[in-house]
């Protein structure tokens, strides 16, 4: 599974479709379409990227929607919470040292995506970077502008310089490499990207992780932030009605003890699979015995069990939202 977490969403759908097809051809599986927000955040935040996309994409491609917020004035309120809930991934692109510091220390985001094709008048400090890494925020290197090199060498030089600086400052941890390709021509295959990363001083294993595991972790973290509630990741199995119980008992009932297992097997089983497992003979006997014991005091038991059965649940919980189904 290879990730490219930055493909700018452009209005030219023909070119975008070509870029996506080319990325799929190169071997990427998950693409994040990126919508840039500059200046003031609009009052009504809504996802600007249509879903499903108005053109056909390769079947194997998984599309995410991401928002990049250009941050220049740290004192302004950017309402990250609203942006966070509207998009799958939220990235921040700081322009100056102050906003970079703020993004590293406080702002609630998933990626810090510096524009590495420009020159920064400051050094990246390990201390601020480490702060971000500790919070689980990743740094992004976008190689696309350097490949296209439209301004005669400056963007490529800056890319190499900034990328080595960034890798030095982060000690190679928490780096995500993505393309930021406005044209299909700027995309390169995963192995080529890893080779570039090796030349920038990242090392082979870390280079592979940068387009694979680190990127995936950024996506999953973003998903967790938006969807989880008090440690509940997902309610995969709504719980089924016991056969002998009347209907009014079903409301709010959840399977309590086996949540972990059902989360794990969520992808195969799916939430919409209501068929219960065939009951073993032992279980049948146990149930029969229980029924016999309970018949007398069923009226007292019911309200108690019902309150016990209702557990916290996130507002919406489709089962297959998490890529791959398991979390690391």
């Amino acid at each position: 599974m290879y990730y490219d977490l930055n493909v700018p969403y452009i209005a030219n759908h023909g070119e975008l479709q070509r870029t996506l097809a080319f990325l799929s051809e190169l071997g990427y599986n998950t693409i994040a379409l990126d919508f840039a927000v500059t200046g003031k955040v609009p009052a009504e935040i809504s996802n600007q990227i249509p879903t499903p996309l108005p053109f056909t994409i390769p079947n194997s491609l998984h599309i995410l929607r991401r928002c990049t917020l250009h941050l220049s004035d740290p004192s302004q309120n950017y309402r990250l919470q609203a942006l966070n809930s509207a998009y799958d991934v939220l990235a921040i692109r700081p322009d100056n040292e102050k906003s970079l510091q703020q993004a590293c220390q406080a702002l609630e985001c998933d990626l810090i995506s510096l524009d590495l094709s420009t020159r920064f008048p400051f050094y990246f400090k390990h201390k601020t970077m480490a702060n971000a890494l500790q919070r689980g925020v990743k740094f992004e290197i976008c190689y696309g502008p350097g490949i296209l090199n439209s301004d005669g060498g400056a963007s490529r030089r800056n890319l190499i310089s900034n990328a080595t600086q960034l890798i030095r400052a982060t000690r190679g941890r928490g780096i995500v490499i993505s393309s930021e390709a406005k044209r299909a021509l700027a995309c390169r295959g995963p192995a080529d990207v890893v080779n570039l990363a090796v030349l920038w001083g990242l090392g082979q294993e870390k280079g592979i992780e940068a387009i694979d595991r680190e990127a995936r972790s950024a996506v999953v973290h973003a998903e967790m932030k938006r969807r989880s509630f008090r440690g509940v990741i997902d309610v995969v199995h709504g719980g089924e009605k016991p056969e002998r119980e009347p209907e009014r008992f079903a409301k709010g009932k959840q399977e309590k003890g086996k949540r972990k297992a059902s989360v794990l097997e969520g992808d195969e089983a799916g939430a919409g699979n209501p068929t219960p497992k065939p009951i073993s003979k032992r279980e049948q006997k146990r149930q029969a015995k229980k029924a016999r014991l309970d018949t007398g005091k069923i009226s007292e038991n019911k309200p108690k069990e019902a309150s016990k059965g209702s557990i916290i649940s996130p507002e919406d919980a489709p089962a297959s939202g998490i890529p791959n189904g398991n979390i690391n």
């Binding site: 070509r18 080319f22 051809e25 190169l26 071997g27 021509l185 390169r188 192995a191 080529d192 694979d212």
Partner: protein
């Protein structure tokens, strides 16, 4: 006797931009539309792409990226001698481009083992093929290294495997489900090949008779 060790890069030249309509003809859209993306990206290279031209393009790119120092490092294997076609050794012994198939846009480039990453980076940063004549246009292309091998034989085998998988995949994408003809011949172990076809773009590993340093990004994980 100590051998001089090389790396052989198996390279795909991909054309991400749509094909130009042939000159003097009315651009007819229907056959262009019918081509699947796979075929368009792996379209045949233009006729004037020769091993010499490709070698010169690589050398120029190395010079651009690394300067004289870098070119000096790699040029012992990317041999600097550049023969005019009539003097060319038929085996291309002095050309770093050991194999070039314009029909499949596949090439095998030889470089020294110590500096193959330099050549690779130069290939990655390449965005166009140089024009050969004055009126010729530079053609946009992206170069993807699909395998790094210690022996030319393995690179060759990989090239054949990929070409075969690509044909099967293109057939499948264009919806020709017939089992006779090409699919019948090639598709004997088609399931395995098609599996490989799915991973065909991710692979890059190194196999040498002496040292195995697998890249690990082989797509099987």
């Amino acid at each position: 006797m100590v051998r001089i060790k090389h790396r052989y890069l198996l390279v795909h030249i991909l054309y991400p931009d749509p094909a130009d309509p042939p000159k003097g003809k009315i651009p007819s859209k229907s056959p262009e539309k019918a081509l699947p993306d796979l075929v368009q990206f792996h379209r045949p290279s233009p006729n004037d792409l020769t091993p010499q031209l490709l070698a010169r393009t690589i050398r120029d790119q190395v010079l651009l990226l690394y300067g004289d120092y870098g070119l000096g490092l790699v040029s012992s294997s990317l041999n600097g001698k550049f023969h005019p076609p009539q003097l060319m050794d038929p085996l291309l012994t002095l050309n770093p481009v050991k194999y070039l198939s314009p029909a499949t846009s596949t090439a095998i480039v030889r470089c020294s083992r110590a500096h193959y990453r330099l050549v690779w980076a130069a290939l990655s940063f390449m965005t166009q093929l140089t024009k050969t004549s004055k009126q010729g246009q530079p053609r946009a292309c992206a170069i993807q290294v699909v395998r790094v091998s210690g022996t030319i034989k393995k690179a060759e085998e990989e090239a054949i495997r990929r070409a075969r998988a690509a044909i099967l995949r293109a057939k499948r994408e264009s919806g020709e489900g017939s089992t006779d003809g090409l699919l019948g011949i090639l598709g004997k172990d088609d399931e395995e090949v098609l599996q490989g076809g799915k991973n065909m773009t991710a692979g890059s590993d190194v196999s040498d008779e002496d040292d195995e340093m697998g890249m690990g990004s082989d797509g099987e994980s």
